[in-house]
Amino acid sequence: MIDVARVDFWAANGSGPFHRASVLSKLLFLAFVVAAAVSARNPYPLAVGTGMLIVLAVLAGLPWAVIGVLSLYSAVFALFYAVSLRGDGWTYALLLLKAVTPAYAVGMVIVSTPYPKIFSFLSAFLPEILAAGLFMTYRTLFLLLDMMDNFGTAIRLRGGFSPGNIVKNSANIAKGIGALLVRAVERSSRLYAVMVVRGYNGKMAETTIGTIGLNDWLPVGTGIAVLATIILWR
């Protein structure tokens, strides 16, 4: 899993054109790129599209190399799927690019948009339970990652990890996960109490759709350009 803290840092501390663009425009950008990947039948225009994304990431000051590494994760599984098709080189290239291109676009969106803003946008379309659940999950994720980390440290300090002893290590990991689950459930009881006393009535955070403005031409334009390339270069 990616380092959420690093992604948060990039998202919250950037100031380039992609950061300034609205959530709506970036999600439209993502939709266009996914549509391009879905409809592509030829690896060449898709390669050009991927190139456009990389150039945009460089010009917008995004961590383009890190995004590239992130998107390669999807390439591994695309390759695996390609193997199952017993395809030729063309097939492999097409499937790899179909995987990498939208993954790169997702990477660009998440390193330039704080998660709370993405969830605020999604909460306009999702039922309250899902929208609030997303916020609550995001909020809790960090705490639990810290908790798991602390537990790992405690186990190591107390001799609970032995290199090569899979059974012992697995047993201790299981205890850690069990403790995590119990504490998570107890935490949910306390969160319930807090939601009661703070007056929760269906609004976890602001719902924002926003509009397309001057700052948004770059992501929207790039997304349209990628899709147009795929459609026109058949």
């Binding site: 803290a5 948060d8 919250a12 704080p114 998660y115 709370p116 969830f119 916020f135 609550m136 995001y138 909020r139 960090f142 705490l143 935490r187 306390r190 969160l191 109490a193 807090v194 939601m195 009661v196 006393v197 703070r198 007056g199 929760y200 009535n201 269906g202 609004k203 976890m204 955070a205 602001e206």
Partner: protein, 283 residues
């Protein structure tokens, strides 16, 4: 939201409370009645396991007593909390669990938004309380990455944003340095002068002198063992010992002086102690 203080009007009354937890642990808080009058600053003192948090949770309606009676603003909070919750602010011991929303502004706006206050008014209220606590610069920050002290201020802002008539704080000074404690006390005293009543639990007696109008002492298994002004409580060494609380340093000092023939009025804070000693020395 704030009514003019009328000291004689009691807003919280707890009478002989008994609660049994799911793991069969029983908490009895009997002895003296626990009463908070409007405009008072009440401190609940007690060691670990004495029932401080249990008491506060009953006042907040989060627990239902198995025996006894709890009344807050004239209603039973366990069954009618919705009718009074806008009048009560809470700062829990673990502020990490009190912060619900991802960003600072969103979290402070949580209560006003959920109480149906307009977007503009919510904005004004949030900006005002952020300015009051000096955290306006944290507006768009993600709560998780704040320092412990900053998180506590954000949680306090969330508790104060609705300008509650009653603020309840559970061990608010845990983990705070001296300066942060002073800032918190100053904020609470300022709001109290504007009419807000305060109930605070702590096991640190040294903080009581400069703050409380009234103190209740809880002892594990015994309930309320003493009640009175800070000065009255400081001299109740027996009650303090039963609740596993060390008397304040000043109390110890002046008791030892008394044992050695120097009979001075027991002070509640350092300033008073200095004045009394200087007067004695000049004689």
């Amino acid at each position: 939201m704030i009514k003019l203080p009328t000291l004689s009007e009691s807003i919280v009354t707890v009478s002989c409370l008994k609660h049994i937890y799911p793991d069969t642990t029983e908490i009895h808080i009997c002895g003296l009645d626990f009463v908070v009058n409007r405009g008072e600053r009440v401190v609940v003192l007690g060691g670990n396991g004495s029932g401080k948090t249990t008491l506060l949770y009953h006042i907040l309606g989060l627990l239902k007593p198995d025996e006894g009676r709890v009344s807050v603003f004239g209603v039973n909070p366990a069954t009618e909390y919705n009718s009074i919750r806008e009048r009560i602010g809470v700062l829990l011991q673990n502020v990490e669990e009190q912060i619900l929303s991802p960003t600072v502004w969103e979290d402070i706006a949580f209560s006003p938004r959920n109480y149906g206050i307009s977007k503009e008014e919510t904005g004004r209220m949030v900006d005002a309380v952020m300015a009051e606590l000096g955290i306006a610069h944290l507006r768009d920050k993600i709560c998780h990455y704040l320092s412990g002290g900053e998180k506590r201020k954000v949680a306090l802002a969330g508790a104060l944003v609705m300008r509650p008539e009653l603020l309840i704080l559970d061990e608010p000074f845990e983990g705070l340095d001296t300066r942060s404690r002073s800032e918190l006390v100053a904020t609470l005293n300022r709001r109290n002068r504007e009419g807000m009543s305060i109930i605070m639990s702590t096991h640190d007696l040294n903080l009581v002198g400069g703050f409380a109008d009234r103190v209740y002492v809880l002892a594990k298994g015994e309930g309320v063992v003493a009640a009175g002004t800070p000065l009255e409580i400081f001299t109740r060494v027996d009650a303090l010992q039963r609740s596993s609380i060390d008397p304040p340093v000043l109390t110890e000092l002046f008791n030892r002086l008394r044992e050695n023939g120097v009979d001075l009025v027991m002070p509640v804070n350092v300033e008073q102690a200095v004045d009394d000693l200087l007067r004695f020395l000049k004689k």
